[in-house]
């Protein structure tokens, strides 16, 4: 896989194409839905080999944590506890969890404003994220970033970024730095398919391939840029194919299958670590909630959402784990209880934490603040 390829790299050939086909079918009847669901399950089962039960259960636990955290965020948002924009990750959990599970702890992760899921999957504490949503001093960004700007320097989570596509050159820079510093760290850079239309995407891919930088560009294709569908916004809707324009290895991935995401990312990580080569992954997913909490959602049909909910990444993975007897009901309850407790603790922590001290409004503007009146020698 280290070989440079102008062709989109497909690890498992026809299988990937068929998963792509599922996502592209506009109208499907119930029978074909269940057929597709079963097929997806079969494919997922084929990926179980070599993974120990603890790893599989941990993947599931992380996905449940993100789901419950986001549901709680929606709840407290509606109750007026948190302000501003709030972009939820529900439906896309397999992407963050699967891809980050293929990383080492010291690898870098950067994403857009839809960042809660990635922050959790990178190992940030739910308390510090919830407190950030509440705008509290104990938040991961001290209450200065909010939903869109979670940062966790201790786990190399380099933030949620608010301008569509803005994080793509930044992540290219961290990959550049890793190579410059002679480490074998890789950078995962997440963005939505709408960011692919920004110049920053194309400029970054060009530099990354030109200079052979260990960046893994992960397009989370959830089919909508806010309320504008992919079909209404992109002339060539095959995002992975755009890697060809830069001679970059690229791959389609079923984003509803956490194991498919993990495998594809692992291939990209190897390419990055061993050969300092970038990869473009188009991970096809779907968000079950609106673009943000204020989204009326009138640009897509209930039927369409239900179609994707049939392939809910949590449901799919849970069915696999149960059928393969990797978890039983007792273990599931344990996970649910643990996650429930984590999220409730996070809310309590956020509720009980103080707002930032007013003096904080003037801190963190400069690392070396300069007071000209003190600097003058006269």
């Amino acid at each position: 896989m280290s070989k440079q390829s102008a062709e989109p790299v497909s690890a498992s050939g026809a299988e990937e194409k068929s998963s792509t086909g599922v996502l592209e079918a506009p109208d499907t009847d119930v029978k074909s839905l269940s057929r597709e669901r079963d097929a997806a399950k079969m494919r997922q089962k084929g990926r179980l080999g070599g993974l120990n039960p603890e790893t599989l259960i941990e993947l599931y636990r992380q996905m449940v944590l993100i789901r419950r955290f986001e549901e709680k965020a929606a709840e407290v948002y509606s109750a007026g506890k948190i302000g501003g924009f709030c972009h939820l990750y529900i439906g896309q959990e397999a992407v963050a969890v699967g891809s980050l599970s293929a990383l080492r702890k010291d690898d870098y992760v950067m994403t857009s404003y839809r960042d809660h899921g990635h922050a959790l999957a990178k190992g940030m504490a739910p308390e510090s994220l919830m407190a950030e949503l509440y705008g509290k001093a104990t938040g991961c960004s001290k209450g200065k970033g909010g939903s869109m700007h979670m940062f966790g320097k201790d786990v190399n989570f380099l933030g949620g970024h608010g301008i569509v596509g803005g994080q793509i050159p930044l992540a290219t820079g961290t990959a550049f730095a890793s190579k410059y510093q002679g480490t074998d760290q890789v950078t995962l850079c997440f963005f939505g398919e709408a960011a692919v239309n920004q110049g920053s995407f194309h400029e970054s891919l060009n530099m990354a391939q030109l200079w052979k930088l260990p960046a893994i560009y992960i397009c989370e294709n959830n089919r909508y840029g806010m309320g504008t569908s992919l079909e209404r916004a992109m002339s060539l809707q095959n995002v992975a194919q755009k890697g060809e324009a830069y001679g970059m290895a690229s791959e389609f991935v079923d984003g509803m299958d956490v194991l498919a995401v993990r495998e594809a990312t692992a291939r990209a990580v190897e390419r990055g670590r061993k050969d300092h080569l970038p990869t473009l992954l188009e991970i096809r997913t779907y968000r079950f909630m609106g673009h943000s909490m204020s989204d009326p959602g009138n640009y897509r049909t209930r039927a369409e959402i239900e179609k994707y909910q049939e392939r809910d990444p949590l449901k799919l993975f849970l069915a696999t784990l149960k059928e393969e007897k990797i978890v039983d009901d007792k273990k599931l309850k344990e996970i649910d209880d643990e996650v429930h407790k984590q999220v409730e603790n996070a809310v309590r922590f956020a509720e009980e934490s103080p707002f930032p001290d007013p003096a904080e409004v003037y801190t963190d503007i400069y690392a070396n603040p300069i007071d000209p009146s003190k600097n003058r020698s006269r």
């Binding site: 940062f151 933030g159 301008i163 820079g173």
Partner: protein, 327 residues
């Protein structure tokens, strides 16, 4: 002290800092194999190799953002814009990423980066290649903005900018690269950011000038001295943070102010300086503050029209006479 050009002074600063700190690298269009579009980076590729001195594609948003990302994880990039006109493509990364990263990450990620290159009026390159846009950057908290006017300032301030832990916009004047002056050759010579310099002492009128306007103000002051008018010329050198105290002290002494700049008058730096003088020293003023700026038009190509746009010695002299009530 050796006498060298601003171009050579900048080259020395970059060379010394590349040698001093392995984390410093230089990236931009034509900075390496071509030796720099304005030859500021001459010889650096040869000396430091392609890992440290990197020719970028013409992709300003991309390489500006790459620099910011590299700065997040321990490098100290010098990003050259062939001219600051092209930085306009990169403003999202400069403003939304570099300037705000430390704040919105709650103090976790500072951005030690220098964005440098020529700016201001050039010679006969019309509207898109000849403009002063420092006020855009100076508007934003989180950024520092430096504009040197002499070879010594250029070297000392650039070295400080490279060693600084925040994003610094360092604007060199395109017409001034060949200007000469004495520069210390001590590799530890630096000038702190945020300190104005009194380029000429005087008692009757304060002229605040930066970049290209400094030599023009000094020549105007010489001519005015012949007519018995003593001008004090202050160069803020750093416009964010601005050493307003030095300006205010001078105003309290002279009671008359001319503010000279080559940028457009509307929303320019001098509008800000004027406002701060009014707030802090209104009672000391014996005449309204007078601004000398570029005309409020895009830069024309024709030589005679271009000469009308960029402030010259005569316009500065006329302004000084106006505030001094001299016919």
């Amino acid at each position: 002290m050796p006498t060298i050009t601003i171009r050579e002074a900048l080259n020395q600063a970059i060379r010394e800092e590349l040698a001093r700190d392995e984390r410093v690298f230089l990236m931009g269009e034509e900075v390496a194999a071509y030796d720099g579009a304005y030859k500021v980076t001459k010889g650096l590729l040869n000396e430091f190799g392609p890992k440290r001195v990197i020719d970028s594609p013409i992709t300003e948003l991309g390489f500006a953002g790459l620099g910011v990302g590299a700065a997040m994880v321990g490098l100290r990039p010098i990003i050259e814009f062939m001219t600051f006109n092209f930085s306009i493509l990169a403003t999202d990364q400069i403003i939304n990423s570099a300037a705000k990263m430390l704040y919105m990450s709650g103090g976790q990620y500072n951005i030690p980066i220098v964005f440098r290159g020529p700016g201001g009026s050039a010679f006969q390159v019309s509207s898109q290649h000849s403009q002063a846009i420092e006020s855009w950057f100076a508007y934003f908290p989180g950024i520092k903005v430096v504009m040197p006017s002499t070879p010594a300032d250029a070297k000392g301030l650039l070295k400080s900018a490279i060693r600084d832990d925040d994003p610094v916009i360092f604007i060199e004047q395109e017409r001034m690269y060949g200007n000469k002056g004495e520069v210390p050759d001590d590799p530890d010579f630096t000038i702190p950011l945020g300190v104005a310099d009194i380029k000429r002492e005087g008692t009757d009128v304060t002229i605040v000038a930066r970049s290209l306007m400094v030599p023009i103000a000094l020549k105007a002051a010489e001519k005015l001295q012949e007519q018995g008018v003593s001008c004090e010329v202050i160069d803020p050198r750093t416009i964010r943070p601005l050493d307003i105290d030095t300006i205010i002290e001078s105003v309290k002494k002279t009671n008359r102010v001319v503010l000279a700049e080559e940028s457009h008058p509307i929303c320019g730096i001098n509008a800000e300086i004027s406002s701060q003088i009014t707030e802090r020293a209104f009672d000391y003023l014996d005449a309204p503050i007078k601004r000398v700026s570029a005309l409020d038009v895009p830069m024309p190509y024709a030589k005679n029209l271009e000469n009308l746009v960029v402030p010259d010695i005569d316009r500065v002299i006329a302004a000084v006479k106006e505030v001094a009530y001299i016919e």
